[in-house]
């Protein structure tokens, strides 16, 4: 059984299923409960709509695409959510783990204008399908809540930075991809845009270094041993990640 679900929530789900089967929770053969039924009971307990694979219509995917166009797909996969729509100050999010307080914090960072976040529940597999369809890819199989297989890899509370590049061949972040640090901090520090470049989406593009950080010929350190543009880019990204981490910590520890 997936250990991501809080024990109390899990017990409530089995109570609900047991009531439906007119038996006691202790006598319920938990290993025989289908994923569909489990998710339905979970959705019922939460009063949330349930998104199943057959619900992934063009309309729904289109709404998700519209709502998530500024978000980093890796961040959504990591925190297991996809925003569906905004109505007034209420944000509706599709998630497979709506009880995750860190995910709620991340969403609040992404959508500070929304004072309320409501959830539509979905299984990890369906969320994986949805994310894949949003990215136009073939979905990869994900473990479910009743399959007994391990769930999606657990993310660290604070996103970790990639390993530093080798001194001989510094590896800049891949063009067009998002910075590794996704989370509350992403909303706190916008990416640095190159002057004259088209405005980048808030969360989808990697931070770019400012023009003023280019090494100036003749300046101290501007010799053969100084940093290349790619190295400067990489260091700037690291700096932003660290700043994002700090912000994330502050968010987590604020009263």
């Amino acid at each position: 059984m997936n250990m991501d679900i809080p024990p109390q929530t899990l017990n409530d789900v089995y109570k609900t299923i047991a009531q439906r089967h007119e038996t006691e929770p202790a006598k319920l053969p938990r290993e025989k409960i289908e994923e569909d039924e489990f998710m339905a009971a979970l959705a019922y307990n939460r009063g949330s709509p349930l998104i199943e694979p057959q619900d992934l219509s063009e309309d729904l995917i289109g709404m998700c695409r519209q709502s998530s166009r500024e978000l980093d797909p890796r961040g959504m996969a990591e925190y297991r959510f996809v925003p569906l729509t905004i109505r007034g100050q209420t944000l509706l999010v599709i998630s497979s783990c709506p009880w995750d307080p860190m995910m709620v914090e991340v969403i609040s960072g992404y959508f500070p204008q929304c004072s309320q976040v409501r959830f539509a529940l979905t299984s990890p597999q369906t969320l994986g399908q949805l994310l894949s369809q949003l990215q136009g890819e073939v979905s990869a199989p994900m473990a479910g809540y009743t399959s007994g297989k391990p769930a999606a890899p657990t993310r660290p509370l604070i996103p970790t930075a990639p390993p530093p590049p080798k001194a001989a061949a510094p590896a800049p972040p891949p063009a067009g991809s998002a910075p590794p640090a996704t989370g509350p901090g992403s909303a706190g520090i916008p990416p640095i845009a190159t002057a004259g470049a088209p405005p980048a989406p808030k969360y989808a593009q990697p931070p770019k270094p400012a023009e003023s950080l280019k090494p100036v010929p003749g300046a101290p350190g501007a010799d053969a041993g100084s940093l290349s543009q790619d190295e400067v880019n990489y260091l700037m990204n690291l700096l932003l990640q660290e700043a994002n981490k700090l912000l994330a910590r502050k968010r987590m520890t604020r009263p």
């Binding site: 569909d36 039924e37 339905a40 309309d59 109505r87």
Partner: protein
């Protein structure tokens, strides 16, 4: 005739959004009652209380604000795309109940019945529609949507 729940919602909205003064709010209630009676007698979907109040708000922004207010005041989840479950579109008794309560059965599966309406207080509507569409021991789930979307979805009935 408004149910107790409808009346409660109606008066709350009227007061909150100053749709009428204390003196003439009963006149507004009468207007709503006469509109809905006419719709019922002609076999049209009954306009939801919230939809009526949003129309009376005077402009689109105030109407939208009313819906957002209702949404923020209840724990029911918003659903942006109400649509009648295809397998139920030809069922006359479901259509009748859906018209009466401005509520649509969005999804009926082996384990779940999802209904979408505009009135979080309409327990009778939820119960009657659920009893009509449930085929077993499904779990009921109720979500909210805009009156205009619900009315649009109701046209999907044959």
């Amino acid at each position: 005739m408004m149910t107790t729940y409808e009346r409660k919602q109606f008066l709350e909205l009227v007061q909150q959004f100053r749709l009428a003064t204390e003196a003439n709010r009963e006149a507004l209630a009468s207007k709503f009652a006469s509109i809905t009676q006419k719709q019922a007698s002609e076999g049209f979907p009954i306009q939801p209380v919230l939809g009526f109040c949003m129309d009376e708000a005077g402009n689109k922004e105030r109407g939208e604000a009313m819906f957002n207010y209702v949404l923020s005041r209840c724990d029911i989840v918003y659903w942006p795309m109400p649509s009648v479950e295809p397998s139920l579109r030809k069922k006359a008794e479901v259509k009748q109940a859906a018209y009466r309560h401005a509520m649509v059965p969005v999804k009926v599966t082996k384990h779940i019945v999802m209904l979408c309406g505009t009135n979080p207080h309409d327990i009778d509507g939820i119960r009657s529609l659920f009893n009509l569409v449930a085929t077993g021991e499904q779990y009921p789930i109720f979500v909210l949507s805009e009156p205009s979307r619900i009315m649009q979805a109701l046209t999907q009935f044959a």
